[in-house]
Amino acid sequence: MLNLTSANPIVEIDHLSYWYDSSFLSLDDISFVMEQADLLGIIGPNGAGKTTLFNCILGILPDYRGNVKLFGKEIMKNRKVLLSKVGYVPQHASIEQSFPANIEEIVSFGLLGSLEKFSRSYAKDQVHKAMQIVGLIDKKNKRFNELSGGQQQRVLIAKAMVHNPKLLILDEPTSGIDEDAQDKFYDLIRKLNAEEKISIILSSHDLDAISKLANKVACINRKMHFHGDAKDFFGDENMLKTYYESSMQAHLRLHQFNAKSNPQNVPST
């Protein structure tokens, strides 16, 4: 099922495993290759290891086993150079809502990772261009918490792409956002991939959106269950059945874990 040879690889993951505190196996022997201009959807239940996978790709968790390459080079040996070509949007919940910076200031954070030297006016132009692409130029003086959930995600996209990255990594970017805003957000993702030629990795529980957006899918639940063309995954009923079954198992596992760690908070039914 896995094809690890590619002419133009953006991301190469080879036999990647990760243990938390040397005891909890979060990723077990994951391998896949992502090519240029791919829009790869990563799906899997809560606790499947999606965020851990991103953290390994980004070098945030350096103590993994296996190999992680970005643009053909080992991430841990060339981290700063490689990450200057990557934009990252974390899960919505991790952002501090009361932060007093305005949108223009937040988008400009994205330039701090750039290795190029540039003038103040160039930086300002880049920030304005990014805000224009995500359709928020008129909100530049607003504070982060004055925007809706969908608009906040677009701010983070603008920040992630202000330094012209080749790869965007989006970790469950639409969780907690209403459907209307989700549609607008997915239109933007499609546009960035098609028009700006940015390779995108997107994790989500929204199978419908992944089926419409992604050309490649990776289904993980600690292990890799599927990697290949999106149409092959979504066209195969057995695959979908396996996905839902493993989601249910993961949900039960989480429930049992919560029951063990805090019995009073678990409903009796």
């Binding site: 974390p90 952002i95 954070f109 990772g113």
Partner: protein, 286 residues
Amino acid sequence: MTLLEILEFGFMQRALISGIAVATICSAIGLFLVLRKHSLFGDAMSHVAFGGLSIGLFLNLYPIWTAYAFTLIAALGITKMTDSIKIPPDSSVAILLSSGLAIGIVLISLSGGYSLDLFSFLFGSILLISTQDTITIVFLSISVLSIIAIMYRRLMYITFDDTQARVSGINVKFANYVFIVLAAITVVTSIRLVGVLLISALIVLPNITAILFGKGFKKTAVISVGIAVASVVLGIIISYLANVAPAGAIVLTSVAIFLCTIVTREIRKSIRSGKITEPTVHNRSH
């Protein structure tokens, strides 16, 4: 006595110069501490500084230098511990605060009770600042501010989201250590003016007030410095005119500005939502 006459006194000039310098660094460092939800870290470090001052007084060394050394070592040590054995930030504050105070109390009891020097460090002695002290305070304040100015965008990004900052290639660990050193220097430098017990008010109150204005980060920082400087200047003048303790007057002025801002904000909100109707607005609507 007019304001100009008050300003002619040398001790008042030194107090105002030192006060403005300290107010500026306290509000600059405090903005990051408040936004990182580490408001009490300043309080914890001031208690560690109290331990350091006691060591100096006990060993007959210049207490402010032992306070700098002890606070820097403790702040870096606790940051290292928090990093490596994952102590929650509020617990590290509790450890710093209680151990600093405990060392101070033990050394005071060993040396036979409170000395006048220690008392002035506990409650501040801004009107007794010497010319040499003023020069040191201004020099340290300019140094702290210069480093913040160089690192300000990186610190802002780390405060916003340290994971994203790390992904952007920022050395978050190094930046945090530098920040802790700056915070420790700021706290010890400020102790002579407002004292161990009130320093955290000068770090927290101007920033909490400035955040209420709801502007961008840069404007919030400028407003905060403005409030801190106004609190110190007004506090010193009020303390002189009313013959009350300057540190208390400074903090109470800061509290008054905070309360006035909240009340003004609530009145404005009520006017906007129609709960309070201004006569002119009422007439216009009809």
